[in-house]
Symmetry: C2
Subunit: 223 residues, 2 copies
């Protein structure tokens, strides 16, 4: 009966994780009491430590699970055969909606990054999550729907950075999901389409000229 035994253990682990998710969400990391988590999972306090080394590892597990689920949801939210732009739109909408819905856990995520001492690492599951974006964008580049002259990581930071800040703004103002945020972002992304590059084979383009002008202006205004 080694099988039901294993199931019991997994069920217990799941109960602890669920309890922890609830308590962390309700009370925040510092407000959460290990005793309360144990009580809700219907185990003794010591038992929690058989499954997770300490409070921080439990927190990591909660956050890790959240982003894993989010990845699944994102993939599900994207229409298989749609255009790259359409898929980006879907991903952006799904992401913004999720950030708003689960704002508490998203906030807690930053806490999981900080491992007491120093080097704020990035969580593996978030790395996994952003690949969904990367894959869409890469396909866009391969199909020449998007140009390859900006590093993907920079575009990605625009995408997630904007959505994260917008979500915070919306939540703090107690507004909900706002489609105009998505439209705005998608309009920005038009920038990445390879439009009028044909006539700029020389490598000279308007933005290069503007940058040069900008440099000149700087010098002029600080003599």
């Amino acid at each position: 009966m080694a099988d039901t035994q294993r199931q019991r253990l997994e069920a217990r682990e799941e109960a602890i994780l669920a309890a922890a998710t609830a308590v962390f969400g309700e009370s925040g990391v510092d407000g959460a009491r290990m005793a309360e988590i144990a009580r809700r999972a219907d185990v003794a306090e010591g038992t929690v430590y058989l499954y997770y080394k300490n409070k921080h590892e439990l927190l990591e597990a909660v956050v890790d699970r959240f982003w894993r689920e989010l990845t699944k949801g994102a993939i599900a939210a994207i229409s298989e055969g749609a255009t790259v732009s359409q898929q980006l739109h879907e991903l952006a909408s799904y992401h913004l909606q999720s950030l708003i819905d689960d704002f508490k856990i998203v906030e807690i995520t930053s806490r999981a990054r900080m491992r007491h001492g120093e080097p704020g690492r990035q969580l593996p599951q978030i790395r996994e999550y952003v690949r969904v974006f990367d894959a869409i964008m890469q396909r866009g580049i391969d199909l020449r729907e998007f140009s390859a002259d900006t590093a993907i990581w920079q575009i990605r930071d625009v995408f997630y950075g904007t959505l994260e800040h917008s979500a915070r703004t919306l939540v703090l103002r107690k507004q909900g999901f706002d489609p105009s945020v998505i439209d705005h972002l998608m309009r920005l992304f038009e920038q990445y389409r390879p439009s009028s590059q044909a006539d700029n084979a020389s490598g000279l383009d308007a933005s290069a000229i503007m940058q040069a002008l900008s440099r000149i202006e700087t010098k002029l205004s600080q003599p």
Copy 2:
């Protein structure tokens, strides 16, 4: 001698704040020991609590001070008479550089937002800080350099969201300041210019260049 007395108190408060900034930065919020902070400020542990109600308020004071200084620095970094684009460029550069330099304290900021219980408020000093951006952008709109058809808060979220994420990326990869991040962001902002829609999907056209040139001409003829 009520005057030197006051000065002594302020000096002590400053010593505590400085010690706290250092210790929080080195050890993180959880790693920081109130005893250690007191020791470095050369006061007894109880004395700290005469100036700050508890550890969290001390943290808030540290973060508050940091953003206040940042606001001063940002204002100083912006050329008074420059174009709106140029000022945005300067602000973006200053911001990115600061985020990278003081990454530790920036990370800690999110911690100050979470007041134990719930409603992750926004800190007054950050509100103040983003006004620097708002003022520049508003001027851009007034001067018709930028169009008013996108809400400023959305543009602001693009600006700070992108820079914050980019800073994290750069720090985690142990790269330093990367000017291409700024150029990229500024290119995106071309989207917000009113002249852009017509003939060039990139948002740049001859008229934008002519406008910049004429601004320069103006400056040259009035030294």
